[in-house]
Symmetry: C2
Subunit: 479 residues, 2 copies
């Protein structure tokens, strides 16, 4: 009954996926709405996931030579306007500071929606020679975009992210960096978050404002919709020219450098929820879970139970497992239910009978399997169980994605699929913006997600206009 008390507040994900999502965020206390419209409060449970994402991803960045910096939260209007495409893309959705203290400002300042302009401005003053290159910078910060609608993690006015910005002597080196960072995202999301991905290049109309090429990683949520989960942009020398960045090359000639930027945000927490979660709540991949196991003593008032449970806690901590113990006066059933809502990958049940038998019961959150483990071996066995969970979660999500990717050879097939099924569609495209728009219209909202690196030749005709096809594209409805 008590278990039900908590879980009943979560709508079944097959009944109403959107409501299920909102319920999970609320019941797991990941984030809350603030008084400021469109801005979220990241509560301890949600922020701890972001901290683990930061730590793991930051380490991967640093292994590729990236250095962290911090640039101002404010951008002068004149700076935002230097790159034409960029300002068109962002000016309509920024917040403007017009007063400082009690005085009106001479020039309005916007809260950064992204910081290409600030990095370029800094480099225009500091980069002089090829010896100063490359610059491989990244910052962890919050950005603000004046969105109309808000959904926890998926869309909000303020969100947390990292934005990497790099500057290179040659276009080749910059392009390589763009792809290195996409690969870094790919490795991180598949390995640490257990989320399978489609990746490739964005079409012209889906590119970042000011980019020559945008590469993306796209994940499939449980409702078959796509979530753009990280992007890496190659700018060529567009921004550098607009900001007049020049360097002396080895032959003492002035050249314009090439630039990249790449970002991953708290949206990815939305992907973790919607790829792995179930009707009992969150299911966190062990590598990113703030707590990897919750020890729950049964009949904890009986002699020796708490002591034994605490001893196990120490042993687990000693081998580097993020373990906790629940010694509150709630019933075991209530504690199980809480552990499930929070998505803690395993719980360890230990009661008088288990102690007598020299064992504990490990319950996996992902498939609810109960595993009996000898007390002496828990510290060596649990890491293996966690690794299995991580792998199984990836494989399960991968199978799900694979079985929800369809092929459409013509318009009618495509219409049918998007009417009857949830998922991505592989279909050929002529390369024209008009066809992308028509496809969006006749599928009820599917957009081009990416042109994969390994294009298949499904047919030689565009799925929309029937003319000669240029690319195979993944199409999907998206968040």
């Amino acid at each position: 009954m008590e278990k039900e008390k908590l879980v009943k507040d979560i709508t079944s994900r097959d009944v109403d996926f959107a409501q299920w999502y909102t319920d999970v965020v609320k019941e797991a206390e990941l984030c809350d709405y603030s008084t400021v419209k469109g801005c979220l409060i990241y509560q301890p449970n949600g922020y701890a996931i972001w901290e683990n994402i930061k730590n793991n991803l930051d380490k991967r960045f640093k292994e590729t030579g990236v250095e962290n910096v911090y640039l101002p939260v404010l951008i002068p209007e004149s700076l935002l306007q230097k790159e034409k495409d960029h300002v068109e893309g962002f000016a309509p959705e920024v917040a403007w500071v017009t007063k400082g203290g009690n005085e009106d400002l001479e020039e309005n300042l916007c809260i950064r929606p992204t910081s290409e302009t600030l990095f370029c401005d800094h480099w225009s003053k500091t980069v002089k020679s090829y010896r100063d290159l490359p610059k491989l910078y990244n910052q962890w910060c919050s950005v603000l975009r004046w969105e109309k609608t808000t959904r926890p993690f998926l869309r909000s006015r303020e969100f947390l992210w990292q934005e990497g910005h790099t500057l290179h002597a040659s276009a080749e080196e910059a392009e390589e960096r763009t792809k290195t960072m996409l690969q870094t995202y790919y490795d991180f999301v598949t390995e640490d978050l257990a989320i399978p991905l489609i990746c490739g290049r964005k079409t012209e109309s889906e590119k970042f404002a000011g980019a020559k090429d945008t590469y993306t990683i796209e994940a499939m949520m449980h409702d078959g919709k796509a979530l753009q989960s990280g992007t890496s942009h190659f700018f060529g020398d567009g921004f550098a020219s607009a900001f007049n960045i020049k360097f002396l090359n080895k032959n003492n000639e002035l050249e314009v450098p090439n630039e990249t930027s790449w970002g991953l945000s708290t949206r990815i927490i939305g992907a973790i929820i919607m790829v792995h979660g179930d009707d009992s709540g969150l299911v966190l991949p062990p590598r990113i879970a703030p707590t990897q196991t919750m020890i729950i003593p049964i009949a904890q008032h009986k002699e020796g139970v708490t002591e034994k449970a605490e001893k196990i806690l120490d042993e687990l901590k000693n081998v580097g497992i993020r373990a906790k113990i629940d010694l509150s006066d709630k019933t075991p059933g209530w504690k199980f239910s809480e552990q499930e809502i929070l998505g803690i990958p395993t719980r360890i049940e230990i009661g008088p009978k288990d102690i007598e038998a020299g064992q504990v019961i490990v319950v996996r959150r992902d498939n609810r399997e109960k595993i009996i483990v000898s007390i002496d071996k828990i510290a060596s066995e649990l890491p293996k169980i966690l690794e299995s969970i991580q792998k199984d979660m990836y494989n399960r999500a991968y199978e799900f994605m694979k079985s929800h990717i369809y092929i459409a050879k013509d318009k009618d097939e495509m219409i049918d699929i998007f009417q009857e099924k949830n998922g991505f569609v592989k279909a050929m495209w002529c390369g024209k913006k008009e066809c992308e728009e028509e496809i969006k219209s006749f599928t009820g909202g599917a957009s081009s997600r990416c042109i994969p690196f390994d294009e298949e030749q499904i047919s030689d005709k565009c799925v929309c206009c029937g003319k000669k096809a240029k690319h195979m594209v993944y199409w999907g409805k998206s968040y």
Copy 2:
């Protein structure tokens, strides 16, 4: 000559301390001015110090039960105005967002100068019962205060900090938390930053806007001035009442909880520079130094030198030392000079003759001592050398501070000291604001730094008015 080339750009600290400070910040590439007036760019060298500060301090916070969260960057005007003293203190120095996208906002939003109001607003909606208490929250973020003047790290419009906010069932528990966090700052700054401190309570006029009590840690810079390095505030139930936060206690009665907040900012990097730095640049305490040792091969083109140096690098990394190697084509003299400017605690010189003798030369940055170490023992010896440096740096700074603390029994003595000497003055005070103001005026700017926990009875008369003394106060000119 090459060594001089770099170092000559640093003004001697005895000639012009302010210019010395600016030179060190610039030559060590810690931060740079941005196009946005009063906002800094934290460059990789400066930001890496802040990252280490964050990591070390965050770990200490978590050991006391603190959880990290993230609250919005924007505060509605109506929320800022709920606590009377608080709004008076901060409203004149905030930046206002008045437009979002292309529309004027219905209510102006300020960029957070500090977030008491947001935390209280959140708690007013989420805290209901004694079971919800205590709340021990912290966030790492940037804040903005519309300052007129700017000095790198010491004063800028935007700065990075952490702000902790806690909510408690009783005033006693909140007061204890205020002191626990002061102690956490004290331990961190003295142990990890090797900076000795004076600590105590702020006088009424130096308190935080809205606080019942403000506790502070105060460090003495090399010019004898004080730098307020971290503060911890006890609010009583003032904020909670203003925000209508109530909880049901164990007897099912409604009570108003008590609150604290505490913060430490990037100012502390200014303290590291001004306490430890010398005429050759920065001197970083080993525990916080992003790079703890720089290996500099001598005659690196000669056979076997680079290989041996790289082998040492691996060995040092394996024992957890943050080691780097400089294999650039600059001369050793140039490299030495760079290592000194950057304040890297040690360098390891290794050349053909050293290899022949089976040794390396370790040079300490703090006192320039050269230590010959057997190559086989470098991985076990260097940690000890770094620990000695850490201790010696603290002791040196402690002796400096001790020898620059004076006692004044009357006004004339106080005037003389502040005219002839640099440092702090211990003197008795009657408790009146008027005397504090008069002291500031006749000393040329010395303010009360704190009333220490261990007050000495220097005399029974106020150093200013001669009436009955209430407290012993540390006085000093400050940043």
